[in-house]
Structures are given as C-alpha cells and as structure tokens.
C-alpha cells in the first residue's frame, strides 16, 4: 500500500513541474514576439513611467524563464517559489486594480488576446494559491533540513 507521504510527494512533484511550466510558457509567449508588444501590455496598466515599462518588458520574461526552469528542475526551490509567489501577487494586484477601474486591457500574462476578466482573475488567483503552497512546502522542508 502506498503511503500518504509518498502520494503527497508525487502530487508536489507534479504541481511543481506544472507550475514551473506555466512560467516557462508565459516567458515563451513574450520572448517569441518583439519586446515592444509586451511593453505595450505593461504600459496599458498606466502604472509605470516609460523608462520602467521598457526595463520591465526587456527583463521580466527572462526572469520568468529562469524561475520556471528552476521550479521544473527542483533547484533553488525556496528562492524560485518565493519569487514566483511575489510576482504572481504583484500581477494579480495590478489586474484587480485594472478590473475595478473598468479598464478593458490585455492581462499581458500569456501574450496577447487575454482581456482581464473575472475568468482571468480566477485563473491567476488559482495559480497564486499553487505558488504559495510550493513556497510553504519548500520553506518548511528547508527548516526541517536545518
């Protein structure tokens, strides 16, 4: 009979790889297009000055790629999962602000054509829960090891 501990570890593995793949996919949708298109999605939120929009557009996809690959490979888990959680919290906060203001804009999460809606908020909210769970398990594991 398979122990509950083993089942938990398998579920955690699947979750970590899947959530890592989400970040890798998000990075890919942005990196395969001219960076200016992602910059336009960021600019549409009307939060950052122009220079910051350009800086974020040119660096964030690479950060997403690194975080996603780290999660999938199971490397530097406390840092990668915490970074993923913080990024998702920031994305969700921006999306909720735009939605509350009635802004009809692209989420910018996975390329173009993804207007902010209750569905996208629920989707990203669910992802945040997943990343927070990964963060908690990786930090707990580190405490136990220490």
């Amino acid at each position: 009979m398979v122990s509950s501990d083993r089942i938990f570890r398998v579920v955690l593995l699947v979750l970590r790889v899947a959530l890592g793949a989400v970040f890798v996919y998000a990075a890919w949708t942005k990196l395969r297009q001219p960076w200016q298109l992602f910059a336009m999605s960021i600019d549409a939120y009307r939060v950052l000055p122009y220079w910051a929009v350009v800086a974020v557009a040119r660096t964030l996809p690479w950060a997403e790629l690194a975080i996603g690959l780290a999660l999938m490979a199971g490397r530097w888990l406390p840092v990668a999962s915490t970074a993923a959680s913080l990024l998702m919290m920031m994305f969700l906060a921006m999306m909720m602000r735009a939605y509350a203001a009635g802004m009809n804009i692209n989420c910018g999460c996975f390329g173009l054509g993804d207007i902010i809606s209750a569905r996208t908020l629920a989707r990203d909210g669910g992802l945040l829960v997943g990343y927070l769970f990964l963060t908690w398990t990786s930090l707990s594991a580190r405490r136990k090891a220490a």
């Binding site: 001219p34 298109l37 910059a39 336009m40 600019d43 009809n104 173009l112 054509g113 207007i115």
Partner: protein, 195 residues
C-alpha cells in the same frame, strides 16, 4: 509579353498583401514593407484617441516616406448603437474619395452624435449636397453593407476582441497591437521591423 508577365509577377505579392484593402480607405504605397490594418469603431473613445493623436504621427513618420501602408477597417462593436451606421456612411464616402474627411468629422464630434444618434446629420455637414445625396444612397447599398460586414468578419477571424486594434504585418509576421498605444513604443516596434 514577357515584360508584362514579369511586371505582373513583381506586383503579385503587393496585391496579395492588400488584396482586401479598399483603396478609398487606404493611405500610402501598397508596396510599403509594413502594412498596418486599423480595426476601429467610430463610437469608441480609444479609437478617437488613436485617430487624432497617433495616426497623424504614423502618417508623417512612416506612411508618407513609404514605409507603411495604412488600411482602415470597420469593426463596429455591438455595444455601440450607431457605429455600424457610421461605418456604412464612411465606407460609402470612401467611394468618392471622402473617407478621411468623414472619418475625421465622425471622430471629432463623436460625443455629440453618439448621444443624439444624429450620424447622418454629422456626415452630411461636411459633404457637398451632391456628394451627400450619393453617399446617403450608397450607404444602404448591399455592396457597402457587405463590405463593412466583411471587415468585421476579418476582425473576428483575427480574434480581435477590442478596439482599436492594429494588425502590423511585415512579411509573413503579423502582430496585433490592441488598445490606446504609446507612440514611442509603436515607433520602436516599427523601426525594429524595418531594420
């Protein structure tokens, strides 16, 4: 004969790139390296902003120098009561070379006619009586109505879900640019594609 075939072969890619473009609603050279199709709704405030603030800069920096071929496409949204009517009048006016004049007026007085519903009065105010009569008649012609619907269908096929949306095409690559765009970013995109 050989020369004719050669010329036609050279022209074919240009024709294919803008095969659907209404010449009365297009600006610049069809052989420009970049084509921008602007899917727009006359009753949409963000479209008004694009038309009045961004497109004049695109005209000056890219269309006139022959770098961009600008094609206007109607994409009236169902939530706007009078935008399809406005699109039909503008498309009819294009047949007489008056598209830009009518479009400029519709966007300039958008707030007024969107509230009153007096689209025709707005359009007629900038046309000569002779042109007004022709445009009013033609706007109801099935050819015009189906042209507007065809452009809506093109937009739906391109998965356009907001206005304005510009489809920037360079060779085989198509990039949708949605919403009220920052001109510095658009310029950076176009300059990058032209390199």
């Amino acid at each position: 004969m050989k020369l004719f075939v050669l010329a036609l072969t050279a022209l074919l890619p240009c024709l294919a790139a803008s095969a659907d473009a209404d010449p009365g609603k297009s600006l610049g050279s069809p052989s420009a390296p970049i084509q921008i199709e602007v899917f727009s709704d006359f009753e949409c405030p963000a479209c008004k902003g694009l038309h009045e603030q961004i497109l004049p800069q695109v005209m000056k920096d890219y269309v006139i120098p022959g770098k961009v071929y600008l094609v206007s496409r109607e994409y009236p949204l169902q939530m706007h009561a009078y935008s399809r009517e406005a699109a039909c009048y503008a498309t009819a006016a294009a047949r007489f070379g008056k598209y830009e004049l009518v479009a400029d007026t519709l966007f300039k007085t958008q707030v007024a006619w969107a509230a009153s519903g007096k689209v025709w009065d707005t359009v007629a105010s900038v046309l000569t009586p002779a042109d007004a009569k022709k445009v009013q008649l033609l706007a109801k012609d099935p050819a015009i109505v189906s042209e507007v619907q065809h452009e809506v269908d093109l937009g739906k096929a391109a998965a356009i879900n907001q206005t304005p949306t510009m489809i920037v095409t360079r060779g085989a690559n198509r990039f949708p640019v949605a919403g009220a765009v920052n001109y510095n970013l658009l310029r950076s995109l176009l300059d990058g594609l032209l390199r």
